[in-house]
Symmetry: C2
Subunit: 328 residues, 2 copies
């Protein structure tokens, strides 16, 4: 067990710093060591904050800022400092709900890649009611990909499904537009051939969008453009349906009364479908644990993200990735 | 008003010929002229079938068959004959729930393209609770696309949203992984530049997956790989959520009783979300109306598809597409 703290970027996210600090405090109260990273001037007065270890960072990379430029110019930003804390052995993992691209760039530039990994990828758990989530990757780190990268995504996703959700031999599918290996774009066709001959993977072939939210597959591999579109499409779809359900149930007093009786069942389902439940995505392939939470993260999402970060450190995620993919 | 019949492929679909013929009979009873296309030997004995005009086709292209090969070799197949009926002025439109690729190829090879159209695209209505559906195209005709084709998809989708759903100035979005024009893959970046300078379009910029099921956009343009993945991801997501709702509501007698009171509200919502409600997709860019229904279509889906086909003929869809996109 590590005793290093999890570095939490206090400045990143739509609800920063309030909800972020609240989440950090809650995690600390639950016994997870935390170090907050941020600009003290912006955090003063938040109740309880003085109890947390702190790393000062005088700059902030804003949500809409160009990631590469932000990381290059703002060397004293909370994101860069959080990544450096992991690199320098002052923190076990980093958690941020800030600018996704900048979080990726900070982790990549400061922690570096696992040797042998061509490109890190964002792995996001997609909820599957009644089963463990499906790991979708790349969910947005690389808008354009080479077939060899997707093979590594398959390997890393497989390790992550094992480490995070205890799936023994994760079923890995390649996202396409038909199960036949002859279908898809050229990236998918070339990747399919490579995956078939990659040892140590349980490759179940091409899968379609409709398979993602089922137990038929544990890991779905896609280029970062397609993966990100899928992720946001599902988020939007879930939101639209839940809103439509709530509207329908509110439309007459009779429906509202009946819906009241179903609240406990609905709440369980809504929680399953809520992206905050899983605490966000992880950047796989960098030489450290980097959790990237949803920009809209509230305290609960941050607590969950910190838990995941801590757990992935304890379970030796990076070492397992290195063993599965790395070149030494 | 046309008096030509709609040609219905009796042989295509998971539930063919029974459900297809049932749908055709229902549409005919509602006053829409129909001509069935199929292999008489397989249809004999279906009740009421003798009342429908008929075009004999001795061959069938199976659901899993290679589309190009199927159309090339099976010149007397129901799909090819249905497309020829439209070409030859014997039918106003064709409807099939069969092999999607073969339906596209039949329409393309027999009807031909609208002059000036580079590639036909599949346009699918995505349900938006409480608003008119969003038209998604290309939903799978072209796995790999050029930027210029996507511009034409935008034009054709815009015409379709007007013609089909009466949207006056359809808001057209380009599917990407961020609203910024700097984000996305190279296809999206190049297409964005072209769309900005295309006259006659209400281009609202890049949209994300989460925007599809909202009223913020009326037409979403994507390459056929991404579009098809999105379509199937949403179908799978909707199915997973409805199944989870039903399971939750069945989990205790109390929930089941409460859910009973909500049935009318749930049924309306489920109907909105059911792909059969909109009768399927249309192949835009060929010189005739070609409706491609879901492989799982039942009689209701076929009736709706026939209605859409008839309506698109009456509304002059092909002429409008020619005016908007065509070269003469």
């Amino acid at each position: 067990m590590t005793i290093l703290p999890v570095a939490v970027d206090a400045m990143g996210g739509d609800q920063a710093p309030g909800e972020i600090v609240a989440g950090a405090l809650e995690a600390a109260a639950a016994g997870i060591p935390i170090v907050l990273v941020g600009r003290a001037a912006d955090l003063g007065g938040i109740k309880g904050i003085d109890e947390l270890p702190f790393i000062e960072a005088s700059e902030v990379i804003a949500m809409g800022e160009d990631p590469a430029q932000g990381v290059r110019r703002k060397k004293d930003s909370s994101l860069v400092r959080a990544a450096e804390a992991v690199r320098d052995g002052k923190a076990s993992a980093m958690v941020s709900a800030g600018n996704t691209g900048a979080a990726m760039a900070s982790a990549l530039l400061r922690m570096g890649r696992i040797r042998g990994v061509s490109r890190p990828a964002i792995a996001t758990p997609i909820p599957v009611p009644g089963a463990s989530p499906t790991i979708l990757l790349d969910a947005g780190a690389n808008a354009e990909c080479q077939p060899e990268w997707l093979v590594q995504f398959a390997q890393m996703g497989s390790v992550y499904a094992q480490t995070r959700f205890g799936v023994v031999e994760p079923k890995v599918g390649l996202l396409s537009i038909g199960e036949e290996s002859s279908k898809g774009n050229s990236l998918v066709k070339e990747t399919h051939e490579l995956l078939v001959s990659t040892p140590g993977l349980r490759f179940v072939g091409n899968v379609e969008g409709r398979d993602i939210m089922t137990a038929d597959v544990d890991v779905v591999v896609a280029d970062g453009f397609t993966g990100n579109v899928v992720l946001k499409t599902l988020e939007g779809g879930v939101k639209a349906i839940i809103r439509a359900l709530d509207d329908a149930f509110d439309s007459t007093p009779e429906f509202a009364a009946a819906a009241q009786g179903l609240r406990p069942a609905l709440d369980v389902l809504y929680e399953t479908l809520d992206p905050d439940t899983y605490g966000g995505a992880v950047l796989l392939g960098v030489a450290g644990v980097c959790i990237i939470s949803h920009g809209s993260s509230n305290a609960r999402a941050i607590v969950n993200a910190i838990r995941v970060g801590q757990e992935m450190v304890d379970q030796g995620l990076v070492a397992s990735l290195r063993a599965a993919v790395g070149a030494g």
